[in-house]
């Protein structure tokens, strides 16, 4: 057996809608070792959340459907598990934090009941033991234990997200999927929650997939990064690969769009155009209509993943030697 906790191979997920087939996730591959954190980065509609739901087997069906691929968790393909087995895996081995802390808690249950519910469901404990554990979890995330009897509306946004973290870690899962866990929070509260997540991750040796659009958050929390565009991973690697040896034109565009605190620039250098319509993706390289380096071949031939050095992978014809390579290496503006 390999040391990989999670291995995703050629995962493809579609939604069938009245307007046509939405190609949300198009053959992505990545893997994760125990205790590692992967940042899954992309803009709205890139397929990040669908990927997460796919791993949890929570893609709403219909309209969504996993077309192909394998999701190997500890060597077992989650896509082949029965629904009952899957229920035992969710929350216990793999658990998820949703984006919006305001809507992902049940407003008519106390937070203690919501934490205890997970523990009772998955572990062989009595009601009172589960309640005690719920209190412990709450203290672990920095909320005073006596507040277990409070309802979600009595907590602030940052506190609610802490409660959700407590729920997701209550059964000590091996893999945590966090979908934009701090996007709805203010920066100082975001900093507190990220610190907490880093601390707990170390403590429990939990592997994590962190979904975000914020490259700043990734730099603080993640070991590896995968950049998604139009349902594909266009570039992946460790932090140095992505931040300092940026190779894909889209990743460059993302960095160019963010104002940099350390340097003063007169004008931002955004990516032109808009995200493509997922029911009607461009031919060839999906980024070519927006790419400043696109050439005729990019329109026809879809790039395959090229490995630059161990672990740094990029999906662009320039690295296959098929088009003239733009001088892209290094995280500086490209001419």
């Amino acid at each position: 057996m390999s040391d990989k906790l999670l291995e995703i191979k050629n995962l493809t997920i579609n939604y069938t809608t009245e307007d046509g087939v939405v190609n949300a996730v198009n053959g992505i591959d990545f893997d994760l070792k125990e205790g590692e954190t992967l940042g899954l980065v992309g803009e709205t509609g890139a397929g990040k959340t669908t990927t997460a739901l796919g791993i949890m087997r929570l893609v709403p069906n219909p309209p969504g459907k996993v077309i192909s691929g394998e999701i190997l968790f500890e060597g077992k393909d989650l896509l082949k598990e029965s629904e009952d087995d899957m229920r035992a895996i969710r929350g216990n081995f793999v658990s998820m934090i949703f984006q919006d802390p305001m809507t992902s808690l049940n407003p008519v249950m106390t937070v203690g009941e919501q934490i205890a519910e997970v523990i009772e469901l998955h572990q062989n404990v009595t009601k009172s033991e589960a309640w005690e554990k719920a209190k412990e979890m709450l203290e672990l995330v920095g909320i005073p234990g006596p507040r277990v009897v409070d309802y979600p509306h009595q907590f602030s946004g940052g506190m609610k997200q802490r409660v959700i973290i407590a729920i997701s870690l209550a059964c000590n899962p091996k893999l945590l999927i966090a979908d934009e866990p701090t996007t709805a929070l203010d920066v100082t509260i975001q900093a507190q929650v990220l610190d907490l997540m880093n601390e707990l991750k170390e403590k429990f040796k939990t592997a994590m997939v962190m979904i975000t659009h914020d490259l700043g958050v990734v730099a603080q929390v993640c070991d590896k990064v995968a950049i998604m565009y139009a349902g594909e991973i266009v570039e992946s690697g460790n932090l140095v690969d992505i931040y300092e040896n940026t190779s894909h034109p889209y990743t460059h565009g993302l960095f160019g769009s963010i104002p940099n605190l350390d340097e003063d620039i007169e004008r931002l250098n955004p990516i032109k155009g808009l995200m493509p319509d997922p029911t009607n993706l461009p031919t060839g390289c999906k980024f070519h209509p927006r790419c400043p380096h696109a050439q005729a071949l990019c329109k026809e031939k879809a790039p395959v993943t090229t490995t630059l050095n161990s672990g740094h992978r990029v999906k662009c014809l320039a690295y296959e030697g098929l088009i003239k390579a733009p001088a892209l290496t290094g995280n500086k503006e490209v001419g």
Binding site: V187, H213, D214
Partner: protein, 322 residues
Amino acid sequence: MADNILEVRNLKKHFNTAKGLLHAVDGINFTIERGKTLGIVGESGCGKSTTGRVILRLLEATEGEIIFEGKNIRDYSKEEMRRLREEMQIIFQDPFASLNPRMTVSEIIGEPLIIHKMCKNKEELTARVKELMDTVGLSQRLLNTYPHELDGGRRQRIGIARALSLNPKFIVCDEPVSALDVSIQAQVLNLMQDLQKKLGLTYIFITHDLSVVKHFSDDIAVMYLGQLVEKAPAHKLFKNPTHPYTKALLSAIPVPSLKHKMERVRLEGEIASPISPEPGCRFAKRCIHARPECVSADPNLIEVLDARDHFVACHLVDGMMD
């Protein structure tokens, strides 16, 4: 002397709530020079959006003066205010909620022109709407589409075109790019910068995004619980943050770079309630440097040593100057 388009003196906005008086904006003072951008930053509930609305008199101030081009507009009648709206406009945060879903793009952009009787006839109106769409980079084929057919970036461009339609001098931009993806956010920021240069606009740019505000503003004012805690030119504020809250706020920004190492000032606790606040520094309870005098008296916004444009409201800094 600087040519100030707007001056705000001791501006207050209090709301009556069941639990007591909510001090949303509590005695703020600032000036904006013509053609410049003042960024107002702060976290949820600090009163930054209320400040923007009170300045435009979309909300009536409780106390204070709003001096626009030399006149206190709080004394203006309804009719005078209506005429003044041609000069002061606002761009709202949420491009999904701030456009009427039952109006087409041309109706939305044209509405202010009709209300203010800026066009003689239909042809002139259509021509002006088309011109505005060109200005903000909206294709003319979208003239008769509805907002729901468009993406967030285009919708925000409609909001900008609408704000520009009356040729204002001054625009309050309330989180104009917060709802947009980064690549689209950069496009809209560039557009707003170009328009400022071309039309000589003055902006108040309200945001919680510190990297954006640094890039976009000439001066930055930091708000905490209804008060200004620090105000300085953008580069000075980032180079030499002086108020303990500003320091904590700046150090909490996740920076997308591996080289950037900044010592983190961790803030404990969360923002206190703005309802019937206790006297003294509003930040004292979370401040690691708090001393007894911090909870007894309100700090004043004062100049930082040898910097005539850098102001901070903190007893500790005040003490150093004595």
